[in-house]
Assembly symmetry: C2
Homo-oligomer: 246 residues x 2
């Protein structure tokens, strides 16, 4: 599923040797495990244990851990241990805010200026999603979902901003994975996507923005309910990330 593909773009200049792939794969695995809930909040990881499991030394593991800490997925207590961070509802709301702000503005721009090729590309994704809904292929649907949202950013002229959104989305996905989305969930999201594209095709900027906000909040709506159901996965107090400067 949908996982941020950030970083490593620069390093592609260098032949992708297996050494590099170790860290990348390790990051991917841990990231997915945490997002998906396979590693539960509070679970303790040990640099040594993980290093042994992957057959590498602690050094690359540390670098991956460090990155996951910065993204808010791990929590390191010096001389004590490393733990999967609890889901912070405030952080989830922040992520929702970020996503709304960035995507709503993007769709407004896109609706105003989108040309036929971009709209065709979006409708193409819609067809992929329609098929995915028909056969109930969730993975395919969400992959297309991600591509479509990314395409909107590209059409708005800021393809790289998707990286920021993806990072924010990860916090939301952590919550989403806790819910067993009902069978008609895909159909509902698909319908919303259809409306989004129609608004863009009509160059209805304001309407597109409203539709996008409603769409994004549909996903977000489940958060509070889920937090109540899985209270032990959440924390009220906010984690203390390292501040930059005042």
């Amino acid at each position: 599923m949908a996982v941020a593909r950030h970083a490593s773009a620069l390093r592609d200049v260098v032949p992708a040797e297996t050494a590099r792939a170790i860290g990348a794969r390790l990051y991917q695995d841990l990231h997915d495990d945490i997002i998906s809930g396979r590693r539960r909040p509070g679970e303790d990881l040990s640099e040594t244990r993980v290093a042994e499991q992957y057959g590498v030394s602690r050094t690359p593991v540390r670098e991956v851990f460090h990155r996951l800490v910065e993204e808010g997925f791990l929590r390191v207590v010096p001389q004590v241990g490393t733990y999967v961070a609890p889901i912070n509802l405030a952080a989830v709301r922040d992520s929702q805010y970020i996503r709304e702000a960035l995507e709503c503005r993007a769709i407004r721009i896109t609706a105003a200026k989108a040309k036929a090729p971009a709209i065709r590309a979006l409708r193409q994704e819609l067809r992929v999603q329609e098929r995915a809904v028909a056969i109930g292929d969730r993975a395919r649907f969400f992959a297309s979902d991600e591509r479509m949202h990314q395409t909107l950013l590209t059409a708005a002229g800021h393809p790289q901003v998707w990286d920021t959104i993806a990072a924010a989305k990860a916090q939301l996905d952590r919550v989403r994975y806790l819910s067993l989305e009902a069978g008609d969930w895909l159909a509902m999201i698909f319908e919303q996507h259809r409306v989004l594209i129609d608004r863009i095709a009509d160059h209805d900027a304001a309407g597109a923005e409203r539709a996008m906000q409603a769409h994004l909040r549909t996903v977000f709506a489940a958060a509070d309910r889920i937090a109540a159901e899985h209270a032990d996965f959440f924390e009220g107090a906010r984690a203390k990330p390292r501040r930059r400067r005042a």
Copy 2:
């Protein structure tokens, strides 16, 4: 150089306490050096050299480098060297987009619901800025500037989102530092700030948002001109910005 002397001196006095601060201080120094242009794009850093300058081993230096790479400030070429990344104009534009989207939405929310205490706090910062303008204290002004923008996010209910904005802002600041902002620059920004707060006090959400966008674009406006003047510091090719957690 001065930095090294300072660091080693501290280390000798209170080694235990500064032990954990080594990385933080190192990050701070390098970050500021790059943002401010004291370390110029293309300049090569060596893990070994930096480690020696700070009197530490390569391990903590590597972690700091890694973080700066993810934020787009450094570029590591394996087996070759580490360099200060050139300023990427596309990344700068993305940062501007992110900042506008997040701050404009925030001020709209703030204008709609800001209570008297929040407005008082904002006016307080205004007074600080007024004094700073009067005596030409740029450092004090920009510190207050930063606090004020952060306060707006807090008033909007998303204080931590400032972290994301700060990360985006860093890309813009890199450009700003290249310009020798004229003497009346501070006065102009101050005046814009005054308008922002007035709009909030009037609960004029739309007006506040427009004013904020104009304000942010004032700073951004210089970017293209500066890029032309310092072409050797910039690159056309893409790079990736990355974001810290929300």
